[in-house]
């Protein structure tokens, strides 16, 4: 299946990775993530390591059928403002992405046919897929790509989740797209000229807020109002808190062929998972968005298929030195961090459904992960450290969501701190109020979604300028190492910087990051649904048997 002309143009690092794979230095998943991120097609990547591309099941799939999925329907909003994967799963029906992150860790061009990065990741050449049309009949062109980059990089829009993703394309003065940063070379080629190297361009283009919208889309509008997109479906109804229905786009030839399902219905059941089990038992839904904690067993009892995917999704119980005097001192933070046995938290908080982490927010499944020496759990060290700081009698308050594994995990952390002699209390809040101040709580737990590269989460959360920095951490060495790491397209080279990053982050003691979650979902027999590590619903892959 390898196209000779394409193989000749392979990124030089791809060969190195292939050798690493043969030598057993990296896993298949890591190999695929790294090479496809550099623009090697999935087929070519599989070919490099002598494996056949997984058989495309579409040929045998039955066309037709309806699936009902239990998921919170949060309505739709301007994709770049989307703050939940749930929102994107609805507009994903008609809005597509330039690049897609697949459940097996590969990147696949969707609206792009291919892309290439130069050796130091400062220039990307994007090839627009020919033959793609919008569902109003207009062709999809390089102009659409350029226009969407301008939308994404607009830092003046409040809550634009994409704004901080492409620092190399932005004019810092105007906080908008820099002149000459995104160039239309010809009708089907776009070139990105970055001011500094950035390895996260490809994963960022595949993240859920980066859906590509039509030129008629009014910024800030609800995309469901005038659903012009390139995808196979259109929304028939989007009722917030109730349901969303996607049906085949009429009079539209989708470039990808025929998506098997006729209709996808999302049924909202609120936030209580036991209602979801009730709906499943009474045959009101065929699949769910996610199954958590104790409900996994209940759904198994119903005779549904369990779908599992190991991810880099996690929870971080973190202190904030910017909003609280208590955690200004590193020794205090370190003592608190070391007083917690992470494996106990995994067991109590998440029923052991995951892998223990190492308090540095880089997962073994990230391609650039580096192993650093294990930490020693030291509950006995907590009391002296608190006394030394003069806060031994101060009550520490740990805030979390009021329900589910988030609360259980936080409770497990609090209990261990209490056992170690700290005066600590656990405060819970409902989701509707918790997220209002999530960055500012002195000590609280935050869930983090899976991201393909470790540097993505780290640069968002722990650099002094990170837009989702919730710890107040501002370490110049860390910032500098991050700048260097983001310049290295090659994950192996980046690993040296990762040692620095992981060590500093762990040593700063801000975060207790207990485990990596395995994510689960359930589906009724007879339906083919894929569990995606980032909770993406790639509808065209679904079918009814």
């Amino acid at each position: 299946m390898i196209d000779k002309t394409r193989a000749a143009a392979l990124h030089p690092a791809a060969k190195i990775h292939a050798d690493d794979f043969s030598a057993g230095k990296i896993s298949r998943r890591e190999f695929l993530t790294r090479t496809t991120a550099m623009g090697v097609s999935a087929a070519a990547a599989y070919g490099l390591i002598g494996l056949p591309t997984p058989a495309n099941a579409e040929a045998h799939v039955k066309v037709g059928g309806i699936i009902r999925v239990g998921m919170e329907v949060k309505g739709t909003k301007d994709p770049r403002l989307a703050d939940w994967p749930h929102i994107s799963n609805v507009y994903r029906g008609w809005l597509e992405y330039l690049i897609q992150y697949n459940a097996d860790g590969t990147f696949e061009g969707r609206l792009l046919e291919s892309w290439e990065a130069n050796a130091d990741a400062t220039q990307y050449t994007l090839k627009v897929r020919p033959g793609v049309t919008w569902n109003n009949g207009e062709p999809f062109t390089a102009d659409d790509v350029v226009r969407n980059f301008a939308r994404w990089t607009d830092g003046n829009v409040e809550g634009n989740a994409m704004a901080s993703r492409f620092p190399g394309l932005v004019d810092e003065a105007t906080k908008t797209l820099r002149e000459g940063a995104v160039v239309k070379v010809d009708e089907s080629t776009v070139q990105l000229n970055l001011t500094s190297s950035d390895v996260a361009v490809v994963p960022n283009l595949a993240d859920y807020p980066s859906a590509v919208v039509h030129s008629s889309f009014v910024d800030g509008d609800d995309p469901a109002l005038n659903p012009i997109g390139t995808g196979p479906y259109v929304p028939q109804e989007v009722s917030v808190g109730q349901k969303a229905i996607l049906v085949r786009a009429p009079n539209h030839t989708w470039w990808g062929g025929t998506a098997p399902l006729d209709e996808i219905q999302y049924i909202d059941f609120g936030t209580d998972p036991s209602t979801m089990v009730n709906l499943a038992a009474s045959d009101e839904i065929d699949a769910n968005y996610e199954t958590t904690g104790d409900f996994i067993e209940q759904m198994d009892t119903l005779g549904w298929k369990k779908l599992e995917v190991v991810t880099a999704a996690t929870i971080v119980v973190r202190m904030n030195s910017a909003t609280s005097e208590l955690y200004k001192e590193k020794a205090v933070r370190q003592a608190i961090q070391k007083a917690v046995d992470l494996s106990v938290v995994l067991e109590l908080g998440y029923n052991g459904l995951g892998v223990t982490a190492e308090n540095h927010h880089a997962s073994p499944i990230h391609p650039e992960y580096a192993k650093i020496p294990d930490q020693v759990v030291d509950p006995a060290g907590l009391q002296p450290a608190l006394e030394a700081a003069g806060i031994a009698d101060t009550e520490l308050e740990v805030i979390s969501l009021d329900d589910g594994w988030e609360a259980a995990t936080t409770a497990a952390v609090v209990a261990q701190l209490k056992d170690a002699g700290a005066n600590v209390k656990h405060t819970v809040m409902p989701g509707s109020t918790f997220w209002n101040d999530w960055q500012k709580y002195p000590f609280s737990s935050t869930t983090w979604n899976h991201r393909p590269l470790a540097v993505q989460n780290m640069s968002l959360a722990y650099t002094s300028t990170g837009s989702w920095n919730e710890t107040g951490m501002a370490n110049p060495e860390f910032d500098a190492a991050m700048v260097r790491a983001l310049a290295l397209a090659d994950a192996d080279a980046r690993r040296n910087e990762m040692v620095t990053l992981e060590t500093i982050l762990q040593d700063e003691g801000y975060i207790i990051q207990p485990f990596w979650r395995s994510l689960f979902a359930h589906v009724k027999e007879g339906f083919n649904v894929e569990r995606h590590p980032s909770n993406e619903h790639q509808h065209y892959k679904w079918s009814v048997a």
Binding site: E158, F269, T275, L279, S282, T301, S432
Partner: protein, 359 residues
């Protein structure tokens, strides 16, 4: 009579006015506006963005002015942003600002837009009230006859075994709040892992996994999905109304004219039906009418528990998301329902009891 009704309507308007102002004031407290900004804009907005959002979406300025705008006595806000786009309270999406009216409040019949539903408040509320109407109707159909029969039967022979048994049942059911009885009913009848359902499924008596459904939808009202929510609300009311009926019945049964009728040789059944019942039902009638406002309250819990998207569920969502217009709409509706049922109750009383004259 007309003066009485007019006075009642006046009180209703006044109550609605005061209540909506209180709700408006509470939903417009700064932290609540911040919450709204975050849910409307983005959860991860910075503080400056939140302040800007509040200003740019007409939530700045004094509470009184904004309440006036909602009422329609103060012109709606209009704002032109730096990009030259003019938006405002009365300007619909893509509408030319010049064509929009100056006032658009409840006095002009404009209930505003719900930020949660992303739709106009009035049609959303209408639809949800309809859904709750069905639920209430079935609750009444189940609750009223059951409660009256229990009350009359236990009240006509005070102190007998039947009376004691029925009274115990009534007290137990009225002492159990919905959030307890609902959970117990779901665990007993609608869970695939506990209660009766797994046993029945094993015996092959039921086709599905559960006997009744633990979730209901207004789109598809069936016996299997409606039994548990209706029963949950009705159980509480049954006990309460039955106790009232019993009290009233025992009082009537000791009256002189009942004894006279018995001494004249009228059969017991005849005495109960022809002589006692009408007088005994006056008190329960008021109680039943009082149940309507209370039902609005009860549906909040039951609709949330059974994921039934009606008025109670809407109220919870509106409060949870600080949806100002929707909450105000809910308040007006609640005031209306409470006072109208009170009015009907007072008027009905006159017909049942000729000794009472209104005005």
């Amino acid at each position: 009579m007309l003066i009485f009704i007019a006075r009642r309507l006046g009180i209703m308007l006044l109550t609605a006015f005061v209540l909506t102002f209180v709700v408006f004031f509470l939903t417009n407290l700064p932290p609540n506006l911040e919450k709204l900004a975050r849910s409307e804009g983005s959860v991860r907005m910075s503080d400056e963005s939140v302040t800007a959002w509040i200003e740019q979406n007409g939530h700045g300025g004094s509470v009184l002015t904004r309440y006036g705008q909602w009422l329609g006595m103060v012109p709606g806000w209009v704002l032109t942003d730096e990009k030259g786009v003019t938006r405002g309270r009365c300007i619909a999406q893509r509408q030319d600002p010049a064509e929009a009216s100056r006032f658009c409040g409840i006095l002009q019949g404009d209930w505003g837009n719900s930020t949660f539903f992303k739709k106009a408040v009035l049609p959303s509320l209408g639809e949800k009230l309809g859904a709750t109407g069905w639920l209430m109707l079935w609750v009444m159909i189940v609750m009223v006859p059951t409660a009256l029969v229990i009350g009359v039967v236990s009240g006509m022979r005070e102190g007998t075994r039947t009376d004691r048994a029925l009274s115990t049942f009534s007290i137990a059911s009225t002492a159990t709040p919905e959030y307890v009885s609902g959970v117990i009913l779901v665990a007993l009848f609608a869970s695939p892992v506990t209660g009766l359902s797994p046993i029945l499924a094993e015996w092959g008596w039921i086709d599905g996994k559960t006997l009744f459904l633990g979730a209901a939808s207004p789109d598809k009202i069936t016996f299997w999905s409606f039994t548990l929510p209706v029963l949950t609300i009705a159980l509480y009311g049954i006990g309460y109304i039955a106790r009232m009926t019993r009290a009233s019945m025992t009082e009537v049964m000791t009256a002189q004219y009942i004894r006279t009728a018995r001494l004249k040789g009228v059969s017991f059944g005849q005495v109960v039906i022809r002589h006692a019942l009408r007088n005994a039902l006056i008190a329960p009638f008021t109680v039943i009418m009082l149940q309507f406002p209370w039902l609005l309250n009860g549906v909040v819990i039951v609709e949330t528990l059974f994921n039934y998207k009606g008025f109670g569920w809407t109220l919870v969502q509106a409060a949870g998301n600080n949806d100002i217009n929707l909450l105000l709409g809910c308040s007006v509706v609640a005031v209306f329902v409470v006072l109208v049922t009170q009015l009907i109750s007072d008027i009905g009383y006159v017909f049942l009891n000729p000794r009472i004259r209104i005005s």
